[in-house]
Symmetry: C2
Subunit: 211 residues, 2 copies
Amino acid sequence: MPRQVDHASRRRLIAEAVCHLADERGLEGVTLRDVAARAQVSVGAVQRCFRTKEEMLVFALGHISERISERVRARLVRSPAQSAATALGHAAAEISLLREAHRAEARVWLAFAAQAAVSKALAKTLKANYAAVQEAFTRLISEAGEGTDRAVSLDPQREARTVLALADGLTTHVLIGHLTPREAHDVLHAHLAGLWEQPAQPSHSREDRAG
Amino acid sequence: MPRQVDHASRRRLIAEAVCHLADERGLEGVTLRDVAARAQVSVGAVQRCFRTKEEMLVFALGHISERISERVRARLVRSPAQSAATALGHAAAEISLLREAHRAEARVWLAFAAQAAVSKALAKTLKANYAAVQEAFTRLISEAGEGTDRAVSLDPQREARTVLALADGLTTHVLIGHLTPREAHDVLHAHLAGLWEQPAQPSHSREDRAG
DNA sequence: CACGTACCAATTCGACCGTATCGGAACCGT
DNA sequence: ACGGTTCCGATACGGTCGAATTGGTACGTG
């Protein structure tokens, strides 16, 4: 056998380069040449790892998705002793990428999300990730709801979707500059607090329908 | 005076073309040639209206932003007699672009939002729009809070930010395909309903704090 | 009726894109 | 030592990009 190369690790290296460029210039600024230069490999090497540019992008999206959700998972298993409510708070803060250190990942996520709206391959990868996170959130909310008297457990899945969408919306608003990270953090935790802290009130005095 | 042309209306025409293309292929697929072809004008005409491509994009973003927020505003003044809560529901549904008819606008918004994360000029335009909508939402929540016994009025601005971020997050998730429009609509209205329907808890101290 | 001017379509330009190809270097079993 | 196989960097190609230039046309003015 001739000289062998670790394809897997090289693909990861290239994926990192893609993410760096997507962070700095948006996904439009990701070209094969720049990726190769950033990854310190030749263009030919990039093309040998990925047949087309799209294949490279899909892999890069999977790469960063896995990294983010892995961090969320780590956060969850690290605090199993704590209440599910606390765990959810940590996980939500993690997924919203509010920390300055993860601002780059947030920009990459937004760039990919926008592209996924018009690219089926990217959308598939992204959807799979969201489905997993939503399921985890749903389970957490379910567990947390059992311990309290609040009837939040009415629909844990819906609450999970709410938290997930809120987190992503906040991420977007921080990236745009409409909110500061602190403000976003405040909004997120206020929402989460509202889930458990309000005690149950068996009788609704009056219904105010909004629709 | 030589042959005159209505610059303003032509710029709007071109902006429409930009939005159409951004909807179909994402913002990367927006080129001067395609824009010109879609707007039924020559490339030169586009270049006379906008000195650079970025100037064209900024104008297009302002164009669609104004259109969306104008629709929200129209929705608000159309139902002044109804409760502020109802009005907020309508406005939030409008801003989240969940209706199938506005799916294209949603894709355009997402494309611009992603680009705004790395483009200062776009971010400025987008921020101005968000500031206006957030202010309107804050006022609505304030008014709605006065009529109820619920102490939601603790921080109308924060609630406005929550609704706005939630709406955007839901829009994104629908575009990606993680949620159906119906599910997103459900989440949004459940959240809004939660703002007013939960009765106050008299025994609680006035401060609701949760890390 | 000329004339200048504002407008427009077409062309050109240099740069860069993604992709394909190729000669040589590196490596291994024999 | 050597031939075969795999990897690598460089280069060429067809195409498209944004931007600038040019020649022609329609129009209001003098």
